[in-house]
């Protein structure tokens, strides 16, 4: 068995405990190993990062992708907002996304002569998160002081769409042109269901609370993504949209940069990537019959990830998140909303959270996302009183510790989990790059199951998923070739 892969280090942030308090990583415990994703799915693409070429590979790929983009609409006297989102900074340590943003600025300036180029970085529910990243990656300096974080409670702007008025963040749109700088990592499949993934920030990190509430409360689990499309297609946004540049990501790393003036063409390409490669990982994780889920990553509870699959999606891996015929995943905010006062779903058809998760060991994860639903329905052990106290001080998580218990050390938490659950299978959500950190019994299990999952996705599920999203199967064949 291979040694574990070094996990992503703890980060200093107002949303997590001080890194010095993370004394032990779960992957350091006895019995842990790693599996390379290429061992599971040999058809995963080759990555440009991490590689021996380092971060320069991302700069080169960005420059190359931008060669086919038309920037003639940007004149030297214009202003440009490069729009970023927090999530990109959580991928592979954050440097690749930051490098793409810096390269975008440099190339736009060199090609158009425009110097008034700003960075506007949107957030999820942690309003200062991108402020932290802007400092960490030197983006304030690179953008000559014109880099700011924006939040959904900042001043808004009404946007007329074909379904009615929605609202964006004013500072996102306060330039002549906008450049949409994002990534293809799937992350919240339970919300977006890989429908218009490329467009989503227009209804989320670039949007005001009214719009985000529309997505999560007004439209329904499979119609919600239309919020973003409605905004993006509006005459107002179209009058400002210049082009998009995406880090293309698969579960094993950064595979390139894709840029286009046509966001929907780019969307189709990343839909194929998302369904094919992340789909396989999710279906494989869905095969796990029993395990302890260990959270160990600088991100809120739901977003810690393993092989590109976030904990929130593993909690729903007992269902096929990509199958749009299935209305409600086991976890999404619509599902959470539909639990009545006796703690059971209001409709019989609502699936329970993944019963394979016998216990969750929360070794290290951040606040800043309402997570009590997880500790309420999955037995959860939080490591360290400081971490428990941090959750008790988070307005979004005042109920999280009502349902969780505290262990003083990682070792004690895992011993407790082994004893109570009786399983030795452990899946660690620590952002390990290129592989997954797991316990030896789970490694054996996954290696055995992967070939069958690969075959099922390729022959049966992928064509169905793409058909449901109106993505041309010919594109898939070109991709395969």
């Amino acid at each position: 068995m291979r040694p574990p892969i070094p996990p992503i280090s703890p980060r200093k942030s107002q949303y997590g405990i001080d890194p010095s308090l993370v004394k032990k990583r779960v992957s350091e415990l006895p019995g842990m190993t790693s599996v390379l994703l290429k061992e599971l799915f040999p058809d995963l693409p080759e990555v440009i990062y991490p590689s021996e070429r380092g971060i320069a590979a991302v700069r080169r790929a960005t420059e190359e992708a931008l060669k086919k983009v038309d920037m003639s609409m940007i004149k030297p006297e214009h202003s440009v907002n490069i729009l970023a989102s927090h999530h990109g900074f959580t991928l592979l340590g954050g440097e690749p996304y930051a490098e793409m943003l810096k390269t975008l600025k440099d190339v736009i300036q060199a090609r158009t002569g425009c110097k008034n180029i700003r960075l506007r970085a949107g957030v999820g529910l942690r309003f200062r998160e991108t402020e932290e990243y802007i400092k960490r990656y030197g983006l304030d300096k690179h953008f000559e002081g014109k880099a700011i974080g924006v939040a959904p409670i900042d001043e808004g702007i009404p946007i007329k769409t074909e379904i009615g008025t929605l609202y964006g963040i004013k500072k996102i749109y306060d330039a002549d042109w906008i450049v949409h700088a994002h990534n293809s990592d799937v992350r919240e499949v339970h919300f977006h269901r890989q429908v218009d993934r490329a467009v989503k920030p227009f209804g989320m990190s670039y949007a005001r609370i009214e719009t985000r509430s529309t997505y999560h409360q007004n439209l329904g689990p499979r119609a919600a993504n239309f919020t973003a499309r409605a905004i993006f297609d509006s005459p107002f946004v179209q009058s400002k949209f210049a082009f998009a540049s995406f880090l293309t990501v698969t579960p094993n790393g950064i595979v390139g940069v894709d840029a286009d003036n046509d966001l929907y063409a780019l969307n189709d390409r990343i839909t194929i990537l998302g369904c094919r490669y992340y789909g396989k990982m999710m279906m494989l994780f869905g095969e796990i019959d029993e395990c302890i889920a260990a959270l160990d990553f600088p991100c809120p509870v739901v977003y810690v990830f393993s092989a590109g699959v976030i904990y929130a999606n593993f909690a729903g891996a007992n269902t096929d998140l990509y199958d749009l015929d299935m209305p409600l995943p086991a976890y999404t905010w619509y599902t959470e909303a539909f639990y009545g006062k006796n703690g059971k779903p209001l409709l019989g058809e609502i699936p329970s959270l993944n019963p394979a998760i016998k216990m969750c060991v929360h070794n290290y994860a951040w606040t800043g996302y309402p997570s009590a639903f997880f500790s309420e329905h999955i037995p959860t052990v939080v490591v360290g009183y400081e971490q428990a106290e941090l959750f008790n001080r988070d307005p979004q998580n005042l109920n999280y510790m009502k349902h969780a218990v505290v262990a003083e050390t990682t070792e004690a938490a895992m011993e407790f989990a082994y004893r109570v659950t009786g399983t030795r299978k452990v899946l660690i959500f620590d952002g390990a790059i290129g592989g997954i950190n797991v316990s030896e019994p789970l490694a054996e299990f996954l290696l055995k199951k992967a070939p069958e999952v690969n075959e099922r996705v390729e022959s049966e599920l992928l064509p169905k998923w793409l058909r449901q999203r109106g993505v041309d199967l010919l594109e898939l064949k070109k991709c395969t070739a």
Binding site: I153, I209, T211, Q217, R222, P327, Y339, N342, L398
Partner: protein, 206 residues
Amino acid sequence: MKVVNLLALVDREKCRGCKTCERVCPVLAIKVVDRKAVVDAEKCRGCAACEQRCPYYAISMVKREEPVVVSVEVSAVDYTKVEELCRRAKLHPEQIICYCTATRAEEVAAAILQGASSPEDISLRTGVRTGCKVECIQPILRLLEVAGIKPEPPKGGWQWYGRTPTVWEIPDEVKKKYARRGFYFDEDIKLLDRVATAPLQERSDS
């Protein structure tokens, strides 16, 4: 229902009276007086919106010595009316509308029936919209609307701007235009209707 255990504290040295805090507070608990922000401790619901948006980092959140419980007693109003209001807004009375505080539609409806007439008032009474501050504005506006109340956003504030479309209001031509792109409008309408009309698990007046 929310247990409010935090309170905003202003550092008067750092505060420059820019009013950002005043514009984002969901319960109007902070005001700039003589160029300095002042917190109304009774009204503050500990949501940290002001602390998170202050451009000068002049606000911190401190633990209250005594946490304050804010809630509306649903059983104090006629539950038939609560249920009717929720169902007309196409919400199940037991449906959670604030994921951070686990506040259900019935509590917001009860607050309205007890006289709450704006999102700010509802947040003050129930604690809803004082967690993430983002996701629950629309069901609040929908419940107010079916109660015949048309609140005005706070003048000069950024608290909220307006009610937005629901899936029941999506025009047919839009549905038809995008039917093949993975948007399941009609199917989601059926699902949400089934939820809204599902039987109660537990009546709050029983």
